[in-house]
Subunit: 83 residues, 2 copies
């Protein structure tokens, strides 16, 4: 069966995020007020052919650990739904 | 009130996504099978001080249009919840 997978990757809370700071400053320069704690991460979507929901989740988690995310400096969440 | 905002940005369906293709190939090289249609986008989180939910959503939408996303080549979705 085919599964639609989404992965949300963000810098860990205790890690500096210069890209987020840059966006924060840019928003302030554009007169957007009241913005704080901007964090910039990655959003991946993919289709995965797998035997079942839990197998798909396991595979996706392995992909995250190996390639998609850097678990030392990033947190990630996954969403797997039948396509 | 303070709102926790999430923005999911992804390349539009009809736009080439070379970064997604690269990840697709890398996954294949690492022997992950059955993966297709990888798309790489951005995942932003921020805190926003605003008068109410709808005002916050409107402000965030303006930020997306102006700076966070490129509406010509990217689609975006937003999630705004009370912090």
């Amino acid at each position: 069966m085919q599964y639609r997978c989404e992965v949300y990757i963000r810098p860990r809370a205790d890690i500096l995020d210069p890209q987020g700071d840059a966006v924060n400053n840019a928003l302030a320069n554009l007169n957007f007020q009241g913005v704080s704690e901007v964090k910039v991460g990655k959003y991946l979507t993919l289709l995965l052919e797998s035997d079942g929901q839990s197998a798909a989740e396991e595979q996706l988690d392995k992909m995250c650990q190996t390639l998609l995310a850097n678990p030392i400096i990033e947190d990630y969440e996954m969403k797997v739904t039948e396509a």
